[in-house]
């Protein structure tokens, strides 16, 4: 049986990503993800999705001190997806691995870190919310058709 671990108090972010990505997003509200628009958990979810979608999960160079989001303020969706990533990576035949919260958080941090790197690249360009939204819609439409075989 997998060793259980306690739920970490916070989930973390790379220090540089915090400064170079989260800070500018809070200012320009890219993809309506600034702290003033939505909780940081939404940004973290988006970063995790980007990292997962593009298969990018680099280790953090230097975690930000004090953590990024307190786990007690996680939305059910963030909690679920942190666990789901872990579950998928470890294997669906090993459900008890879900008790290892520390490992789940680490994995989520890596994929989020990958996503933040991608966001960093977008921000260095023009980072237009409307353009990105339209690109995402086009991408999802294509994906949906490939999954369901119908015209979306």
């Amino acid at each position: 049986m997998t060793e259980a671990s306690k739920v970490p108090t916070t989930i973390n972010i790379d220090k540089r990503m915090q400064d170079d990505v989260v800070g500018p997003i809070d200012e320009c509200d890219y993809m309506l993800l600034s702290k003033s628009t939505v909780p940081h958990g939404e940004l973290y979810l988006y970063a995790m999705a980007l990292g997962w979608d593009k298969g990018m999960n680099p280790e953090m160079d230097k975690p930000s001190s004090g953590g990024f989001i307190r786990s007690e303020s996680f939305s059910p969706k963030l909690t679920t997806l942190i666990n789901t990533i872990h579950y998928a990576v470890v294997g669906f035949e090993s459900p008890d691995s879900l008790r290892d919260h520390k490992a789940a958080f680490k994995l989520a941090e890596q994929y989020a870190n990958g996503g933040f790197h991608l966001l960093e690249g977008e921000l260095s360009g023009k980072a237009d919310t409307e353009v990105t939204a339209n690109d995402l819609i086009a991408e999802m439409t294509e994906k949906w058709q490939s999954w369901f075989g119908e015209k979306a």
Binding site: M31, N134, M140, A152
Partner: protein, 660 residues
Amino acid sequence: MRFSSIAIRNYRQYRNLDLRFKKGDHDLQIIIGDNGTGKTNLLNAFTWCLYGKEPHLGTEDKGKGEPRLNKDAILEADGDENVRVKTISVTVEIEDNDDVVRVQRELPVRLSPGSITEKKAEEVFRVTRIKSSGVSTATVGEQAAAVLNRLLPEAIREYFFFDGEQLSNYFSETRSEAIRSAVDSISQIDSIREMRRKTDNTVKKLMQALNKTTPNLEAYTKKIEDSEEKVRIYSEKMQEAERTRDDAKRKIDELDEKLRGIPDVEEKERTRDELKERLATKRETLEEAQRQYFIFARELYVDFSFYEIAKSALDAIAKMEKEKQLPPSIDNAYLQEMLVQHKCEVCNRPLNADEEKHIRDLLERFQVSSETSNILTGMRSELRRLVDRVERYPTERDRLTKILKGAEKAYQETAKELDDVERCISNCPDVPAVKVMFDQRERLGELKDQAIQAIGSHKRTRDLAVNVLEKANREYSRALREQGALDDDRAAVEFGNRAVAILDRVEKSSIAETRKLMAEETESLFKGLVWKDNKCDHIELGPSYQLSLHDKAGFSCAGTCSAAERALLALSFTLAMHDVSGFQSPLFIDTPIARASGDNRANFAETLAEVSKGKQLILTFTPDEYSEAIASVFDPIAASYLKLELDENERVVSVKGAHQ
């Protein structure tokens, strides 16, 4: 009645001019003259002779105070020290049935070095009626004026002496009262009114006499007088309100004409402000739609990214549930501890062999720990929602896209509307002046509405007073009988009152009939002169003889008439007035087609040719105005064709009569 001649001595351009207006099948007198030959002053010579007025003087004559005395006469006097007084005289001869009425005005003018003084006190105005028998009756001064006034009333002179240049302003000035007065006079409605007034006075006198001889009548008389006073007051108030309404309507028409094609800037500014507010709302709606669309894109992207593993996780959980691998709320750690301690962790009772076997079976069955089970159960609903959202993606995407496109379209349309209005405002010439006009128009509209309400209110009050008056008259008659008044006196009062009532009705019906006939005749003549059939449907004549043209939908279309058409409308109205009233005065029209052109000129010639069969027409033209189209109609029928020419010094006008 017709003018047979005019003799002019020392008057303005005319040193010595004799014109005879010959009779023919058509009493059409054509006078042609270049500008400056004195066509308009011929018109002035008539009005000066008849009324001592020169209403048609050009601005040049008015502004410079040009002497009335002919310039050649002035020069002649300068060269002759003995001749220091010259006389201006104009004599007009009028054929009135078999009589000749000679009207003569003479004005001595004293000439001294550097000054010319008209000796008004010595002016002579003389009217002589010469019967066919040769007997003549001469009158002078005020008596002569009264004689002439019966023949050609001065109050309505502008309806037989026209200046074509001023015809277009015929209805645009405050003249409805003058027109009403003229129509009343020409149509003899004045006579009926006068008859009514005299009859009423007679009745009043009779009643006063009866009051002295018959007791207890004063109370009835007082009631009649009070009611009459009330009727009079409210009739006057009604008329005043009608005048206000008509005046407002006319001013509104004038403003409408000035404002034709010019936008109501104030209204546009209000619209602009409303549009700005609406645009701000549309922008908020658009921004909200965009926000929803962006959030949808972002959130769904997260869902799409994890869709496959979410689906796999859900499948795994479902499989575990199916195989009953997920324990109820029992902690495996507890179960294992009980096996180690051989006692129940809940009640502390020792466990027997069967019980320990049961616990081992449970541990075998629930391979997943309770904590894991809780995690998986917690994940399940969130993962289901994620999967559902992905599967319903096209529906939600289409819904949000439609909202977004709709909001974009609404925003763009409002922005364009605002842009149009702002362009319209910026293109408007002299915005403050236009605003003032629109403001005036609005206030006049309110004034008109108030006047219409007042008319209704005063009419109700007057009608009530009329009922009271009629009742008072009946009571008075009854009282007369009861008080034993003489039959003859009583009959006279009753007859007088009936006569007054009948004359009231006659006056009203005459006015209504005259107005109706005049509207019909004006319309008929106007149709002959020019008819904008595609625009105008019919003509209406208001209570104050205010003409209005209406289109087929019943809306006023006078504003779309050109100045020439309005001049022809005025001419039609005047001809109708003469025709309907039976007033057979001549018509002198100076430059009648000043503003008309093309077809209007030809129509005009045809119409006036027809009119000249029964009425004398004296028409003056410049050679240019007397175009081929007009000449082809007038030349064959003109009774006289006179051409005015200035001498080489441009001081003396002479006449050459082609048909003289």
